[in-house]
């Protein structure tokens, strides 16, 4: 996740056609990561806006990670893991499903559109589905425009709120 000074394409008036969203994908090691790997080795065409972070399990994907990614400039997030019943740790994805239900509702209540987050089940054999998740998310975030509702980290920010 880089943190360049805002360029014209990322400014508030960014034209959505030229806006390149930054999307961070948190994926589980066993299913989605392997599925994404398959998509790559199968040379399926996909948007190049997604940077993948691999974790053992969706059960390990803490909303903190999402929060941090938004802080550091992400415009969209993908959380993805094994289909229900296929979790390598048996139940991690069931817990993640509940946790992200609540987190999405919380974001929504705080005024952050939960559509900034895609949650998907992508198995090791679903390279095509991964490409579709990536493309759909990129398209959707591009339409939504840059994430502006999150207080971003930026050295240009000198927000002395209490002055």
């Amino acid at each position: 996740m880089s943190n360049q000074a805002p360029s014209a394409a990322r400014g508030p008036s960014a034209d959505n056609a030229t806006f390149e969203p930054r999307i961070v994908a948190f994926v589980c090691n066993w299913c989605t990561y392997t599925g994404a790997d398959l998509a790559g080795t199968s040379r399926i065409q996909m948007a190049s806006n997604v940077r993948i972070l691999r974790l053992p399990c969706t059960g390990r994907i803490d909303p903190l990670f999402v929060m941090k990614a938004f802080e550091r400039g992400a415009d969209g997030i993908i959380v993805s893991g094994c289909h229900p019943g296929d979790c390598h740790y048996i139940v991690g994805n069931f817990h993640a499903r509940r946790r992200f239900r609540v987190f999405r509702e919380l974001l929504d209540f705080l005024g952050v559109d939960p559509e900034r987050i895609t949650f998907s089940w992508v198995s090791a054999s679903e390279g095509g589905k991964w490409a579709q998740v990536v493309n759909d998310t990129t398209r959707r975030i591009r339409e939504m425009g840059p994430m502006e509702s999150w207080p971003r980290a930026s050295t240009a920010l000198d927000d002395d709120l209490h002055g």
Partner: protein, 360 residues
């Protein structure tokens, strides 16, 4: 120094003129948001100001903000560029400081200019004219009268306003205040009859002096001798260690320095309020904590205010504003505990009788 007066209408016009001239006005006013508590904040004119209610927040945050950037860094190739935060402060006026809050600024000056001169603090101090407003005597948590101040104390203020019908009597207390008044003299009138102002101040003094007056010198001596005492653990039982008391205290001035990377290109060093009531305040990297429990942490707060600071700077680190007692969700009470220590001190110091603290 001089005494003058100002009518509400004139004051309002003066504020408009100051604002037009780019002077920032800080005054008690309702905070934005749900709570709508009265705090000291930037206001746009007289109509925003709420006088006569002690603000819940302190004036100190306009001199030592809860969080401020003091240094930045940015990576440029192989170099690391350091960006000093500006310590400049545009001209400001505080209008309507409570006497305990104005006095606190002077109390804290001592430590801010002690072994190192804090430019952020002093530049803000120098850029700010402090106009206080005489207090009507406060509530049951106030004890300015026990720490050498009073509802009409002018310490820390360049001018003090005393409410009278239709406006204020104005007492000039510093040369700076005098110069400022002369600069804007068209808004002020002759002092006139002082009967009302005198009566206001007398009422206030009577009210405040009816409250207990613990004897600070004997409390200080007791504190020196009773670092180890069961009292501390007992006292702190109800304390949550939240530190709200220190955050709202006009004299507490502890801060933490943190470096916050803001991405690979740079980041900021900030200083943030900190509190001795938090366990992390003294936690060592090894995991050892020299103040392991709330008893030790609470003792630190009391010792610093009534023993350590006086030993070093010859004055108490407390102006008796009572905010700590008002804010505490568990009902810890500063005036009560000072009374308890007074009573314990009276056992070893016969001159400090338990009755003495209630004498007006």
């Amino acid at each position: 120094m001089q005494t003058r007066s100002i009518k509400t209408k004139e004051l309002s016009a003066l504020l408009d003129q100051l604002r037009a001239a780019g002077v920032e006005i800080i005054a008690p006013a309702r905070a934005p948001g749900v709570g709508r508590a009265v705090v000291y904040r930037r206001v746009s004119g007289f109509s925003d100001i709420i006088m006569g209610v002690q603000p819940r927040g302190t004036l100190k945050e306009h001199f030592l903000p809860a969080s401020e950037r003091i240094l930045g860094w940015r990576r440029g190739g192989a170099h690391l560029e350091l960006l000093e935060a500006s310590t400049d402060c545009a001209p400001r006026i505080v209008l309507g400081a409570f006497p305990c809050d104005a006095a606190a600024l002077e109390v804290v000056d001592a430590v801010m200019g002690w072994d190192y001169r804090d430019e952020f603090w002093f530049n803000r101090r120098q850029a700010t004219i402090v106009v206080s407003i005489a207090c009507d005597g406060g509530d049951e948590s106030c004890f300015c009268h026990a720490v050498g101040l009073s509802p009409g104390s002018t310490r820390g203020a360049d001018l003090m306003f005393v409410p009278v019908d239709g406006g204020f009597q104005v007492e000039v207390t510093t040369g700076r205040g005098q110069a400022w008044l002369e600069e804007h003299q068209e808004y002020f009138s002759e002092a006139g009859d002082s009967t009302q102002a005198v009566a206001f101040q007398e009422r206030a003094t009577t009210r405040s002096s009816q409250r207990p007056r613990p004897h600070m010198e004997s409390i200080g001596r007791w504190l020196k001798n009773n670092f180890q005492h069961d009292y501390w653990d007992q006292l702190a039982l109800r304390c949550h260690g939240c530190g709200a008391c220190t955050m709202v205290c006009p004299t507490c001035h502890c801060f933490d320095l943190v470096d916050e990377p803001e991405g690979p290109e740079g980041g900021s060093r900030r200083r943030n309020w900190d509190t001795c009531q938090a366990a992390t305040f003294t936690l060592h990297a090894s995991g050892h904590n020299p103040r392991p429990g709330q008893g030790a942490r609470y003792r630190q707060r009391i010792l610093h205010k009534f023993s350590i600071y006086p030993a070093r700077f010859h004055e108490l680190l407390c102006t008796g504003c009572g905010r700590c007692s008002r804010v505490c969700s568990s009902g810890m009470d500063m005036l009560e505990l000072l009374g308890e220590i007074h009573d314990m001190a009276s056992i070893t110091e016969p001159t400090t009788s338990p009755e003495a603290r209630n004498e007006p």
